[in-house]
Symmetry: D2
Subunit: 143 residues, 4 copies
Amino acid sequence: MPAAAMSADAIAKLLHEIFPQGFYPGCGLAIERVDYANVRVRRHFQENSIRPGGTISGPTMMELADFAMYVAVFSAIGPQPLAVTSNLSINFLRKPGKGDLVADARLLKVGKRLVVGEVTIYSDGVPDPVAHVTSTYSIPAEA
Amino acid sequence: MPAAAMSADAIAKLLHEIFPQGFYPGCGLAIERVDYANVRVRRHFQENSIRPGGTISGPTMMELADFAMYVAVFSAIGPQPLAVTSNLSINFLRKPGKGDLVADARLLKVGKRLVVGEVTIYSDGVPDPVAHVTSTYSIPAEA
Amino acid sequence: MPAAAMSADAIAKLLHEIFPQGFYPGCGLAIERVDYANVRVRRHFQENSIRPGGTISGPTMMELADFAMYVAVFSAIGPQPLAVTSNLSINFLRKPGKGDLVADARLLKVGKRLVVGEVTIYSDGVPDPVAHVTSTYSIPAEA
Amino acid sequence: MPAAAMSADAIAKLLHEIFPQGFYPGCGLAIERVDYANVRVRRHFQENSIRPGGTISGPTMMELADFAMYVAVFSAIGPQPLAVTSNLSINFLRKPGKGDLVADARLLKVGKRLVVGEVTIYSDGVPDPVAHVTSTYSIPAEA
């Protein structure tokens, strides 16, 4: 297993520079662990994520999964801010209660043009996952 | 084609009651047209939706697609706030510029337990779609 | 709309040359119509496609969808036998009875590296679709 | 972890009874291991699975994934021949060479109405997966 192409701190710094409206102190997203092609991120609980039924909304989980994949892409190929999602498919498995969400992303393929990964989302402290995601990122040609 | 089970106004009123943190005046989401199993919704442009590269972020489109499906489910089976997304799969096709997004949802199957639909997202005024989504909603057993 | 890059006959001839074990007289697959990025193919009914419940098996529909996409890719970019599926996602909507299946493929994006399309599968003569597919093909770099 | 609801032998016997045209001695499919919600199946190599480029065709892998899920469903909920695939999404990761395919299916959720799982497909003896699948089965209401 190679070393991560960027550390968690370096990725957080980069994200804050390139995407200040999406990643900033207090935005609720945090990078917890970065290994090569394998990362953990967290979404701190926010009341406005609640949807009817008292559970966290689907878009909150989709955003977290996409964030986890973005971080995982950086962990494998380094700073490529223009890498973009080409596909994301999510299965919602269980309704999370009010609490933090934790997402583990793992890349299945790191190609020159496409990176494919899966993300498993948990309600913090609960063993069974609340959602499972597969996603493909497209890497710019000049990368 | 049967008539819509709820009008656009009735769906907007319901959403505001059951999901006040997600749908409120000024939230940027609007319901433009509701026919049976066939609806159009809009996301007004907001600067904080921009991601690196000057395009609108993927999660913004995923949220819009999920909203479009939720409205389409109501158009077909009436007020079922506890209908939940079980699957959503999105393909990003082109990068939208800075402008409103329009989403057309069309249901492919309205079953007792599952509703399946597709959503096509456009950058307002541009003919080629920016994203295509398929999604399944699960309808509560008591429905 | 540009003209199709290849005719139905030219595609059938190519497929028979490059993929003789998959496409041959009597194989049950037929190309019915080819326009640019928009094709119709057919799967003649075969008893060995039946699965428990008296309906046609899922893999039969997946194979047909993949075939439809392959033909649609040729219709848009010409002979690229090494174009390969990178993603296919199918929703099964209704159980087809014993009869031919017809698949309409329509490309949503024809890019240099990725082609994205959707396929709708019908039981011949029945208006409501039996399955809906989205799929991405990857085009070889030298293309 | 509960015990498997059916053994590998019992599942093979059931499949041969209910689906004789799909599962029979010499069909090329084999059930190698069955634990609760966690199974391994194999596709013996067959020349007619080869597609242009000298690799195994996508539909061969989709059929294997669907078979793996079907066996996994039986491992968790017992004999339910009328369980049907409602969604299957596959990402092709690498081109398998000429050899057996091995598929590991793992269920992520065993609900009353829906079973969700993932399948990882390998070329026998090669560590990196050739395809990754997520799939949802719908369980008949009377189940």
